[in-house]
Symmetry: C2
Subunit: 316 residues, 2 copies
């Protein structure tokens, strides 16, 4: 497991994209109030109006979503905030969601945006990507995902422990470079030596990723580049042809299919994420009218097929 023959995350992701035939991935960001009543009613009956009832509702919903999407997508991206908000049982639901997704053959990208000084980041990295010290210096995996999102603000020593675990265990990171939210420009676009700040972060990512190149020409140090900023994606892609882009913000946040081509290089090297637009599709038009909450599974399935088709047309 710690040999030099470990397969790089980048190669695993590229292979999974080719196998499934799409770079679309699904964000597992379940909102309790938006869950189908059929599921919450079932858990209410079993667990009452308790925290356990909530976190089991979330887990059960996720398992159904994973059953629906796992034949079609290479990866899922569970956002930890929506689980951590329910405390330890919420984190338990997060862990079981990860386990279930991996059992179904999916790669799992934990959207955690963790960051800290080096000695603290080592704890995060060990927990999500590596191994954690137990009794008698035994090392055991805890969350054991394939990749995490990380925040670059503290510089190299807040990234290095992740790089070590990436190399050792065939894992990956996606560094926040240009985020999908409206105010991302406040700091990320500040001018530094004639260039936007985010491009300096992108250059650092290039350096961080140079020793973790896979055989398919991509590094396991990827970048988060928001779907809502295609012009910035062009700039970053010029600098980093060998970087994997994780592209959030498609659909619900406003990212458009026709812009997606800018995130790829020769049709490869990016994954496009939609969260609410897929998993809660039954609450949005046209699926709300067509299927309604009762047929939430059909709404999830159809919204995913629509997204896959849209992105596929762009890549043809």
């Amino acid at each position: 497991m710690e040999s030099n023959n470990v397969i790089s995350f980048a190669d695993k992701l590229i292979a999974a994209i080719e196998q499934k035939g799409t770079p679309c991935i699904v964000g597992l960001d379940p909102r309790f109030k938006d869950l189908p009543a059929a599921i919450t009613q079932q858990c209410l009956d079993e667990y009452g109006e308790t925290l356990t009832g909530i976190t089991h509702s979330i887990l059960r919903f996720n398992q159904q979503v994973i059953d629906i999407v796992s034949p079609y997508v290479p990866a899922v991206k569970p956002q930890i905030a929506f689980y951590e908000m329910y405390g330890p049982p919420g984190v338990q639901a997060y862990l079981e969601t990860i386990t279930y997704a991996r059992q179904k053959g999916l790669l799992v990208i934990a959207d955690v945006k963790r960051n800290d000084i080096g000695s603290t980041v080592a704890a995060y990295s060990n927990a999500f990507l590596g191994r954690v010290p137990f009794w008698n210096n035994q090392l055991k995996p805890v969350f054991n995902v394939d990749a995490v999102t990380v925040n670059p603000y503290l510089g190299s020593d807040g990234i290095q422990p992740f790089l070590d675990d990436c190399q050792k265990y065939g894992k990956g990171i996606f560094v926040l470079v240009k985020t999908s939210n409206p105010s991302s420009s406040e700091f990320q676009h500040l001018p530094v030596e004639g260039e936007a700040f985010y491009l300096h972060v992108a250059r650092k990512c290039k350096a961080w990723g140079e020793n973790i190149m896979g055989n398919q020409g991509f590094s396991s140090v990827g970048l988060v580049v928001g779907a809502t900023f295609p012009q910035e994606a062009i700039q970053i892609r010029k600098l980093l042809p060998q970087a994997l882009f994780l592209v959030p913000g498609f659909g619900f946040q406003g990212g458009k299919a026709e812009d997606m081509k800018h995130f790829f290089i020769n049709g490869r090297g990016a994954i496009i994420n939609s969260s609410r637009g897929i998993i809660h599709a039954y609450r949005q038009e046209p699926y709300a009218r067509k299927y309604g909450e009762e047929q939430y599974q059909q709404a999830i399935a159809e919204s995913l097929q629509t997204m896959i088709r849209q992105v596929d047309q762009i890549l043809q």
Copy 2:
């Protein structure tokens, strides 16, 4: 609880500093391998070589540390990475550590460095500072700490949900501005319009905090400014006389007592944190030789008194 008469976090912190007579706080960053054998042996007997054994060891140790330090300091700062690394039971130990510290009259600053897009940050903010939606739109506190550390990279909309909860519930945030780690300069010192990047972040913090001013002249939007960078602290203090500084990196990371005066304004407005230097003092000189692991409690108590005295001398 949601009335306008809520006491601001800034006022609560200033009052607690005055009551205890020191701005020193203790970081609860327990490393399992560094815990006293007396505690781990006890938990090994009770729970075996299990994850529960580890997380109970951590919790029991924390409770003893809190018993020792709570008469003397205004606040503790538990670093979540060292709990999250042990999965859901680790987060349970984190929650119980928070509860115990608050029962002992301490303010609790959750060192989580969370950050994300607005809708996701709302989940974090509700979990740590505010109230989380349960069944039937009931709102309940989950971690219920007094303040959190946050990362600014995503700009205002990744901060606003925290500001809302700060105002509503009398809570605070400390925004990473100039961090204590060696590589913090890589991005934080990039030149933007003739000024280091971190000063632009500091200015934003000023704007974010202007509507959450307490009666003592300080805002509940504080800043993280590393003890290892006193010159930068002078620059930031010029811009933000009304900001609370959370100053990590004292002791173990190299921050020196004589430099601490630069972080204050008229002897007020900063809290100085030491983590490993206090809680694992029995593993470091001169306490390791003087007390050894058996008398870990004396080592913790004496290292704290030394720190308090050093900082007090500077402030006289």
